[in-house]
């Protein structure tokens, strides 16, 4: 169970206060597949960051497995992030000077695996996303679709129970977009919880549940479980 309780997040910049999230409540069941949609500036990224333990809300709580994430120390929260949460970014965020395999090894290094374990696991994950023949390529030697698949292999490396994706298909052509969505669906079928921000309705259609954010307030617009 993953919960936002009365979460408010305001940004103050040059004396102006922007309310990105306004007393939002959201409960995400284990192994749910949620799409968060909404116009630009509606607070989608803010919600994902708060969910991912990356940014403390101004008020309210984030509960993961019964634990209030922002009541943990920074170190503990970082550890929770490394163990339980995987991110997929719109711009992939691969480390340019590392090979595909090394990129996938990074979260494993951070969780304290030995180099041998790292490499073995990374190769498995790359195999899973169909990139066994590209393990030693640098990101700039890979196509956009391949880069996103490396990023997804990296997300999977520590076997996270939750995957948070911020517009994972935003930078891709329709064919690779579909491929990425199929992988996310697969990860969902593995038993993981997926929370995906998108403004593409085709991508949102893969999700079981769609949340619309309007002015920092979350509204359920589609719930496959209810239908």
């Amino acid at each position: 169970m993953y919960q936002l309780k009365e979460v408010t997040k305001t940004y103050t910049r040059r004396g102006e206060t922007v309310t990105a999230l306004d007393h939002s409540n959201l409960a995400i069941a284990d192994n749910d597949f949620v799409a968060i949609v909404g116009p630009s500036g509606s607070g989608k990224t803010t919600m994902l960051s708060v969910l991912g333990g990356m940014m403390a809300p101004t008020s309210g709580q984030v509960i993961l497995d019964g634990q209030s994430v922002y009541d943990l120390s920074i170190e503990e929260r970082t550890a929770v992030r490394g163990e339980k949460i995987g991110f997929v970014f719109q711009t992939f965020n691969l480390i340019p000077y590392l090979s595909a395999c090394e990129n996938v090894q990074v979260p494993l290094l951070l969780s304290g695996k030995t180099p041998d374990e790292q490499r073995k696991r990374a190769l498995e994950m790359l195999d899973r996303v169909g990139l066994s023949d590209r393990v030693d390529h640098k990101p700039n030697e890979l196509s956009q679709g391949q880069q996103q698949r490396v990023a997804m292999a990296r997300t999977l490396a520590n076997d996270p129970q939750i995957i948070l994706a911020d517009e994972p298909t935003g930078n891709l052509d329709s064919e690779t977009r579909q491929q990425v969505m199929e992988y996310l669906t697969e990860f969902h079928q593995d038993g993981r919880t997926i929370v995906m921000v998108t403004h593409d309705s085709d991508s949102a259609a893969y999700a079981k549940r769609t949340i619309r954010l309007v002015d920092g307030v979350a509204l359920d617009v589609k719930d496959a479980r209810a239908a």
């Binding site: 990356m54 970082t78 992030r81 490394g82 991110f87 340019p96 090394e102 290094l109 951070l110």
Partner: protein, 410 residues
């Protein structure tokens, strides 16, 4: 993969920026090492000179300014050889021995060499005999009031030509014989008894001198008159080295010499050594000043490059944080890089400085330089400390970055 793999690969991704900032630190260490090496070696050499050298007065052409004892004959100015005879005939108290010299450039098998003409003592004996003076026992100076020294005790016949290295004089030397310094002999691959072609004439190698650690090691010595004839210089010399005996007897020597040869410059080795010791002290302090300045500049340049590096890698740092990297890991990432830069800056600086000193020391200053490993430790530690200090704030800035910035599309 380890943290250091990450540091290493990032460093080599765009090495030029880092190498540029590294350069200042490297130069600081190199300057320190080179100058320290040279001053220390030169001090060691001076100490050695004081003990082993008897020649303690130099007679030079008037317009020569003397910087280094060993290059005293390398100034290209000449004076008539007749001065030697004048001094010999003056029979001044305190004069043990006279050693005139003429240096010319020559080539052996197209290798450039310095050929030094020297006058064996047998010449003085001949000259004295010819001039009706019977001075076989002590052909040059006077034996009045002199303490026995290496040069005066020997009767001449038992001397070996290799004594030239220490006594700066030799009993006999044939017109077509040559004596080689240790280094040049090795370089030319020549042994005793070999023939060498010098200025169109064949010379026989009489002996190879033992190593002295001075420019003499890279010189060839032949009979003064052969050198004069073959180089077409006429009867001239560059310098007269005078072995004066103990100081009491030599008390009036400088005055006597000046009176006898007013058109020359008389310099005592004590003066030379004093000047050199002073110059060395100055160089040594200067090297620390250079070192500090270059390290300051180097630290500033590392700091600015590190700050730029942190800014440029914001997204990467955010990504690492999203993937589970804590502040500690990020700090280590940058301080690790700083350590690597410091250690390599120190090491490269030490190597450059040592090579410069070892190569240039003998060529420019005529001293053999022995590398000083303790400077490696000093150089590496200081460079690392500077690099770490300079990277402290950039590393803190990196560790304090907000991980959310990974979501900012850019």
């Amino acid at each position: 993969m380890k943290l250091r793999t990450l540091i290493w690969k990032e460093l080599w991704q765009r090495p030029t920026t880092m190498l540029t900032s590294l350069l200042t630190v490297t130069l600081g260490v190199a300057a320190l090492v080179a100058i320290q090496n040279i001053t220390v070696s030169s001090e060691r050499k001076i100490a050695g000179d004081m003990e082993s050298l008897g020649a303690n007065v130099l007679v030079l052409p008037d317009n020569v300014s003397l910087q280094d004892y060993y290059s005293a004959d390398m100034h290209g100015q000449t004076m008539p050889e007749e001065y030697v005879t004048r001094l010999a005939l003056a029979r001044m108290p305190g004069v043990e021995n006279l050693a005139p010299k003429l240096c010319v450039a020559a080539t052996v098998d197209s290798i450039p060499v310095t050929l030094t003409g020297i006058l064996p003592r047998s010449e003085f004996q001949a000259k004295s005999a010819w001039q009706g003076l019977n001075l076989i026992a002590n052909p040059v100076g006077s034996d009045r009031g002199c303490c026995p020294t290496a040069t005066s005790v020997g009767d001449g016949d038992s001397e070996s030509p290799a004594d030239l290295a220490t006594t700066r004089s030799i009993q006999t030397l044939g017109k077509r014989e040559v004596i080689l310094g240790a280094d040049i002999a090795t370089q030319l691959g020549t042994e005793v008894g070999d023939e060498l072609n010098l200025m169109g004439e064949d010379f026989e190698v009489l002996t190879v001198l033992p190593e002295t650690g001075t420019v003499d090691d890279s010189r060839l010595f032949a009979h003064l008159h052969s050198v004069q004839d073959l180089s077409g210089s006429g009867p001239v010399i560059n310098v007269i080295e005078i072995m004066a005996c103990c100081e009491d007897a030599a008390g009036d020597l400088i005055g006597n010499l000046s009176a006898e040869l007013p058109e020359t410059r008389i310099v005592t080795i004590a003066q030379v050594v004093e000047t050199q010791v002073a110059v060395n002290g100055l160089m040594s302090s200067l090297s620390w000043v250079f070192f500090s300045i270059l390290l300051l500049v180097g630290g500033a340049s590392i700091a600015s490059v590190m700050f730029a590096n942190v800014t440029e890698r914001r997204k990467e740092i955010g990504t690492l944080m999203a993937l589970g990297a804590g502040r500690r890991f990020v700090t280590q990432l940058f301080l690790g890089k700083a350590t690597l830069l410091g250690v390599s800056g120190g090491l490269i600086g030490f190597l450059i400085g040592t090579v410069v000193a070892v190569v240039l020391g003998p060529q420019l200053l005529g001293i053999a330089v022995r590398p000083m490993p303790q400077l490696l430790v000093i150089g590496m530690i200081t460079a690392t400390v500077v690099s770490l200090l300079a990277s402290y704030f950039p590393a803190r800035k990196a560790a304090g970055l907000d991980p959310c910035l990974v979501f900012n599309d850019a």
